[in-house]
Point group: C2
Chain length 226, copies 2
């Protein structure tokens, strides 16, 4: 595979995770200039023989070890002076990873990588803060009418985990009984014959997302709405 890159074009990734009931984003500590040593979004350049989706998927796999991560394009960012060393336009993707199914790898251009709570971000270089804010608002928007939140949860989860996910991302609180009913009425969850273990209270039933059912309902005009 040729590694010849398209010079004025990069991809950057906003990787979201949900850990300890709060929304987190994966940042890398830059080991290259410019902005050496700063925490920043992971990224890379686009090669001549791959499309932009593939470039983004490659970067995501490099950093998380996961193939086929959920990702979606946010858009292109192209202020004239956004990158100090030259005119580089970047295409941004945001991605969602499930807890415990990845292995963080800083990559060749970074000395470290870790999760940051989206409410406690370090100073970011270039236009990365703007990119992150836009990703977050797109995520919030998408979550309202697409069931992509399941990509932030383990395959099997109790209902409260789903509720906490929405509460953390929108910074609101829901009534548990009502939330429960709303979700169950959609018929998008498959109840499992498994329960939580090791909790200091009544253990909850686990569910998994029924993607097939969602797809078939969507074809019939069903619209997911939170």
């Amino acid at each position: 595979m040729s590694k010849k890159i398209i010079e004025p074009l990069s991809v950057d990734s906003v990787i979201f995770g949900f850990e300890e009931a709060s929304l987190e984003v994966l940042l890398i500590k830059r080991a290259i200039k410019p902005s050496f040593g700063m925490w920043a979004l992971p990224g890379g350049f686009i090669r001549y023989d791959e499309n932009i989706d593939q470039a983004s998927a490659r970067v995501l796999e490099e950093r998380t070890g996961v193939k086929g991560l959920f990702m979606e394009q946010l858009g292109a960012f192209g202020e004239v002076d956004r990158f100090p060393l030259g005119r580089v336009i970047t295409v941004v993707y945001y991605a969602l990873v499930k807890p415990g199914q990845y292995k963080i790898n800083p990559g060749p251009d970074a000395s470290d990588a870790r999760w940051f709570n989206v409410k406690q971000l370090p100073e970011l270089p270039f236009d990365h803060l703007k990119i992150l804010e836009r990703s977050l608002s797109r995520l919030r928007q998408q979550l309202k009418y697409k069931p992509i939140g399941f990509n932030l949860l383990p395959d099997k989860f109790p209902l409260l985990a789903l509720q906490e996910l929405y509460e953390a991302i929108y910074d609101v609180e829901f009534d548990k009984p009502n939330f429960r009913r709303k979700i169950m009425k959609m018929n998008l969850l498959i109840p499992l014959n498994e329960k939580q273990t090791g909790v200091a209270h009544r253990s909850a039933r686990l569910y998994k997302f029924d993607k097939k059912r969602y797809d078939s309902l969507t074809e019939k005009g069903f619209i997911f709405e939170m």
Copy 2:
């Protein structure tokens, strides 16, 4: 102003208009190779001294004569073989124009330009059909919770025009009294002391969109929803 361009990067515009109660898109007839003579989306290259928004705004003004058209970025399209003469990634914007406030100009690379009903499109070159479909679905999505539909109507319009706009774009029918009440309850329209003229029925009151009120309501957490 330097006209030096960034070679592997173009902008394309999906310009929507609302004419005769149906949603239309502006296409140009290509007067350059490749795909000479085909109807296609208008576009151009990005210059070194402008950001991508500016590049898109420039293209939009070239074709419609209107400065400051409503526009929003759809995203970047970058299949390896999308353009036959070389690797060109394009950043797409969709724009909305009000009836009668523009003057169509094919531009230097086209021999003609005209509106096409989105349901009766000619054959399009490259990935332009995919781009158009994605623009349309983004437009439908955005229209649901942002009052951008007013950018497709004249400044002064009767309520039925707004209803017809939503009906045409979503291909549904609404109950007139209910639609009316729903809109009026939002308090986003300023009733004018003007009426339609030259219609063969009772003339309707005209309204204009109250952008200031929308902005202030939005700050307070109001969410527009159709």
